[in-house]
Amino acid sequence: MSYFYTEEQEMIIDICNRIVREKINPVRSQLDEDEIFPTEILSEIGRSDLFRLFIPEKWDGMGTGILEVCIATEILSKGCLGVATSYAASGLGFLPILISGSDEQKDRYLPSLASGGKIAAFGLTEADAGSDAGSIKTKAKLEGSNYILNGTKQWITNGGEADIYSVFAVTDESKGIRGASAFIVEKDFEGFSFGKKEKKLGIRASATRELVFENCIVPKENLIGKEGMGFIIAMKTLDKSRPAVGAQAVGVAQAALEEALCYSKIRKQFGQAISSFQAIQHMLAEMATNTEAARQLVYHAAKAVDSELKESSRLSAMAKFFASDVAMKVTTDAVQILGGYGYMRDYPVEKMMRDAKITQIYEGTNQIQKNVIALDLIKNGF
């Protein structure tokens, strides 16, 4: 199928396909089974310049757009959503620096993140502040030339593995949502530690940990933007990153569809391949149609983000929610087509089904996405 990709996009696809074929697929079931963080694969992704996609050329990036990030993420997710999540979460972690950081902060942090030499993480969620991100409790108090951070972040992807963290903390409790600020915290800052590694249903190659701040000393110059801008920075970041979650969903759906299609042509029951039965054919047709529709929406949302269209926030939310629902349905149907085999760990589709679930939850649950879409509709119309 042709998607009218540019030559550069074709190259990205070519690189990602090779990474999937040679580096991810041979080890993905082991990474899942033993919950191993894919350090080596991320190095390979770094060497292949894929982290550079997010970042302008001035800071050693390739200066491409979110569309290219989505294309790379989609292909990597065909191999393993756990690996793709670790890749995409680094981008999510450094987007606040890219969006609102000073030139000095960009000079200091972006080149090593572009090369993949260092990876990043995004620290917003807390035990009592998930969808209600405005009620974060982590505090940052200015003392002399440093901010002192206290509090705990929960379920942070790349936690403990990343070198650079974008952390959101309250600097002025009296201002509510406008009292939050964003900080760049390095792994070895005094007073910064990590909680236990979480055990998850899926994306088990990715690392999820608590970030614990106990009188953590963060230099004043590591404040991103100004005090009180934290919530806006977080929302701007998520608007940009959401299409990539949609792309993860499209990738895992496509992979499950390909597995199901292949299996249906080989599996014989009642003397013929199960692909000759209309029940299976209709499932495959629905899976393919939904995956394709999700892909088109993701690409369109990514282009809208890259063009800074006013409807980009709404489209990003649509792409994330629609594609992740499709991924859940398609991976579940793939398990159904493979039947008993699909339920066994010998085949990759049960992992895809377990992995797909997170795309409906993280970076804003699908219910929150619908809030974003509806509020934007009501406020701005068409």
């Binding site: 030559e7 550069e8 190259m11 990205i12 070519d14 690189i15 090779r18 990474i19 040679e22 580096k23 390979e44 060497r47 292949s48 310049d49 894929l50 550079r52 996609l53 390739m62």
Partner: protein, 269 residues
């Protein structure tokens, strides 16, 4: 000081099921996609790694140059070499190179090494997938007067004057130190070739690749191509592999006699 690493690569048909033309006794290459000889991919990777390892030596200008002899369409594998990390690539192409055997090919490659100049290490894959001779590396070394170390499985250490290598022998490894310049051939186990990066792929797409023929290389046309070849392909046939090792241990003269007898009675066995 300049320190150049030359990597010799060859374009081969991708299929291992290539047919032999029963009339001309040559390989039927039509329809097969051309790729870098798989063994040469490890040579490119090692050439790039050696350059990276030398990066810390002050005032050393390093460059990894990929070279191939072949028809103009071989340019494709040179671009691939750049995408895999080579800094530069040169195509050795001339009508009079056609039909070269390993000796004639080695004359062209050694002339290229001289023209590139400051070549300290020449790296080849252990053999080509189509011809399978493994002769070009040693012949290039002979023509240039460089030492040759084949079947290298590890570059243990190197600086701008010498190199320490691990070489596979039949049932053991030797650790060999050589003064530069040197020609080596490498095994698959030497490294795990990288996946090309996007930057290098873009660079490869836009790279200008020089073509050198007999004029640029200043070689006599009679020394290359079919005319310059010391061998002729008389017949190609499918060979049944039958490996028997016979240990010969006696005094040197008796050993030579025994080997002589083995070689010249081989066909009769």
């Amino acid at each position: 000081m300049k320190f150049k690493i030359m990597v010799c690569i060859k374009q081969v048909p991708s299929s291992t099921e290539i047919k032999i033309d029963p009339v001309t006794n040559t390989l039927m290459r039509e329809g097969a996609e051309n790729i870098i000889n798989p063994f040469d991919v490890y040579a490119i990777e090692e050439g790039v790694r050696i350059r990276e390892r030398l990066a810390d030596i002050p005032e050393l200008e390093t460059e990894t140059v990929a070279v191939t002899m072949g028809p103009p369409q071989s340019e494709k594998i040179l671009r691939e070499a750049i995408s895999l990390g080579a800094d530069k690539a040169v195509l050795l192409s001339d009508r009079s190179f056609a039909g070269s055997d390993t000796l004639a090919t080695s004359r062209v490659l050694s002339a290229a090494a001289k023209k590139i100049s400051d070549v300290k290490i020449i790296i080849c894959g252990k053999q080509s997938m189509d011809g399978d001779t493994g002769q070009v590396g040693p012949e290039v070394a002979q023509l240039l007067g460089f030492p040759f170390i084949g079947y290298v499985s590890e570059v243990r250490s190197l600086d701008n004057k010498k190199i320490l290598l691990k070489q596979l022998k039949e049932k053991k490894y030797d650790i060999i130190e050589a003064q530069l310049p040197v020609v080596i051939s490498v095994l698959k186990e030497i490294n795990n070739p990288r996946i090309p990066g996007l930057k290098n792929m873009m660079k490869a797409k836009n790279a200008s690749i020089e073509t050198w023929g007999i004029k640029e290389l200043m070689i006599d046309a009679s020394k290359v191509g079919l005319d310059g070849s010391a061998t002729r392909v008389v017949k190609i046939f499918k060979h049944e592999i039958n490996s028997n090792t016979k240990m010969i241990s006696s005094d040197l003269k008796a050993q030579i006699d025994e080997i002589y007898k083995e070689i010249f009675t081989y066909d009769k066995n």
